[in-house]
């Protein structure tokens, strides 16, 4: 009996040993391929997902996206959040991070210029008449901290709409979109990218001519290097990436986008 049982036991021991090696090896492998961790401003989230999945065909398991307001993400990064990349909705936060010496040097760069869109869901007259006779609540992102809100506020300050409007402030363009979607607001200033991602009918929104307001320059920084992150940034800078961005509602960064120091 003992003779018979000894052999299988030895074999299972060997098996267990082999298993252990495999487990250890795969642990080492996963430690090596830590997923790319990206902090992204809410307005760019869906665009970023499209760039990752369609642009560089990244597997969903290889990256993690944290979407929030740029200000919140900035606060998280300053307080030790370990992201690899940060796509901000503005220039100010990446600049602050650079001054805080929290970025890979020379990695601050404009990746896209946001386009402001005016969404008027239940338009009955043609645009010129509808805008001239606009009356009611218009939702904008809070200009205190949201770049799209600042652009919208600048337009409204210059009588882009008649004075018969009331402004309500949404914490971000996502909520501004929600206000118009639920029709609690009659219209909203949103991003062109949202209008595209939301599949809004083309006759329901206008993209505001970017010469009317200061450009919504969106910058990114590298916080820690990651191979997939490099692929992503290269793609965004490439011709293919730039036209991809354009299709999704952003103006690509100016060609001379050298690292801004």
């Amino acid at each position: 009996m003992t003779l018979f049982s000894a052999r299988p036991a030895a074999r299972s021991n060997r098996k267990a040993g082999r298993l252990l090696v495999i487990v250890l090896l795969s642990c080492a492998a996963t430690a090596k391929s830590e997923p790319l961790s990206i902090a992204v401003a809410s307005n760019f989230r869906f665009t970023l997902e499209a760039l990752l999945s369609e642009g560089i065909k990244a597997e969903p398991a290889t990256y993690r996206i944290s979407a929030a307001a740029s200000g919140l993400l900035y606060a998280q990064i300053v307080n030790g959040a370990r992201f690899h990349l940060f796509f901000s909705a503005d220039e100010a936060r990446p600049k602050r991070l650079m001054q805080d010496a929290l970025i890979v040097s020379g990695s601050r760069q404009t990746y896209a210029v946001g386009q402001l869109a005016f969404w008027l869901p239940d338009r009955t007259a043609d645009w010129q008449v509808a805008l001239a006779n606009f009356e009611g609540i218009v939702a904008i992102a809070n200009p205190l901290h949201a770049p799209y809100g600042q652009a919208a506020k600048a337009l409204l300050d210059h009588q882009w709409l008649p004075n018969t409007h009331t402004i309500v402030l949404a914490p971000n363009v996502g909520v501004a979109y929600q206000y118009a979607f639920s029709r609690t607001a009659k219209a909203a200033f949103i991003s062109h990218a949202q209008a595209i991602a939301g599949g809004l009918p083309l006759e329901d929104f206008v993209v505001v001519d970017e010469s009317v307001h200061a450009p919504i320059v969106q910058q990114r920084v590298v916080l820690r290097d990651h191979p997939l992150g490099d692929d992503l940034l290269h793609y965004i800078d490439s011709e293919a990436g730039r036209s991809h961005l354009k299709r999704l509602g952003y103006l690509p960064a100016p060609k001379s986008a050298e690292p801004t120091l």
């Binding site: 609540i137 309500v168 639920s182 609690t184």
Partner: protein, 229 residues
């Protein structure tokens, strides 16, 4: 480096109005929940407690749809008062009332349930009508619960954030409250102002809970005295 005073007065106004509305609506509701054994009352109990477990965004989202000029309530409001219910102080009061409902009703139900039914039965036999019983027996005996309920409702409304963020619209002197201003300061990296508001809220919440604790202690002493302990 000063925070807007209007933010603080709007917040206090909202909390006071909500407490008042809940005192008027919540008292009869709590009395009914405490006394009734009906099937509907047993269904109503968890309904009242829903805001305790639901994320404020759920309530905010549904309210946003309900307040829309296309939704039922919003349409009715618009035709009656000729102004939008969303993004208004009245809209916030409705939202806060729903949000703080369990904070008022639950302590009241507990207080009403502690009133011995023998006292109520005796008063009924002596000819007291339901309204009489409510005002001359339930209210005086439940006054401790009432104070706790008011403090909790007031404090909870001061700290409300998610619903206001969704249905408020951040309008100065109308819907911009402390928690929203705090969010804006953090977003704008104005940490100094954020500290003033955040610190103020912590102090306020602590004092509120201190008052509740003190009320509970004095109630306990009272009932011990009455029992001759």
């Amino acid at each position: 480096m000063s925070v807007e005073w209007a933010v603080i007065t709007t917040t206090i106004q909202l909390a006071l109005t909500t407490t008042l509305v809940l005192a008027l609506m919540g008292l009869p509701l709590a009395w009914w929940l405490a006394r009734s054994d009906s099937f509907i009352a047993r269904l109503a109990q968890p309904l009242v407690s829903l805001p305790l477990v639901l994320p404020p965004t759920v309530i905010g989202f549904y309210l946003l749809l309900a307040f829309s000029p296309k939704g039922g309530l919003g349409k009715l409001w618009l035709t009656t008062f000729d102004r939008s219910l969303a993004f208004s102080f009245a809209g916030l009061v409705i939202g806060s009332t729903i949000y703080s409902l369990p904070f008022f009703v639950q302590p009241m139900v507990v207080a009403f349930k502690q009133i011995p039914s023998s006292i109520i039965d005796a008063s009924r036999l002596l000819g007291a009508k339901a309204i009489d019983r409510f005002f001359t027996i339930a209210l005086p005996l439940g006054r401790h619960g009432f104070l706790v309920a008011c403090v909790m409702t007031f404090a909870h409304t001061i700290g409300e954030f998610g619903i206001v963020l969704m249905i408020g619209g951040n309008i100065p002197e109308e819907t911009r409250v402390v928690s929203i201003a705090l969010f804006d300061y953090v977003e704008a990296m104005d940490y100094q102002r954020a500290h003033i508001l955040a610190g103020g809220l912590v102090a306020f919440a602590f004092i509120s809970l201190l008052i509740v604790e003190w009320l509970n202690q004095s109630h306990l002493r009272d009932s011990h005295r009455r029992l001759g302990l």
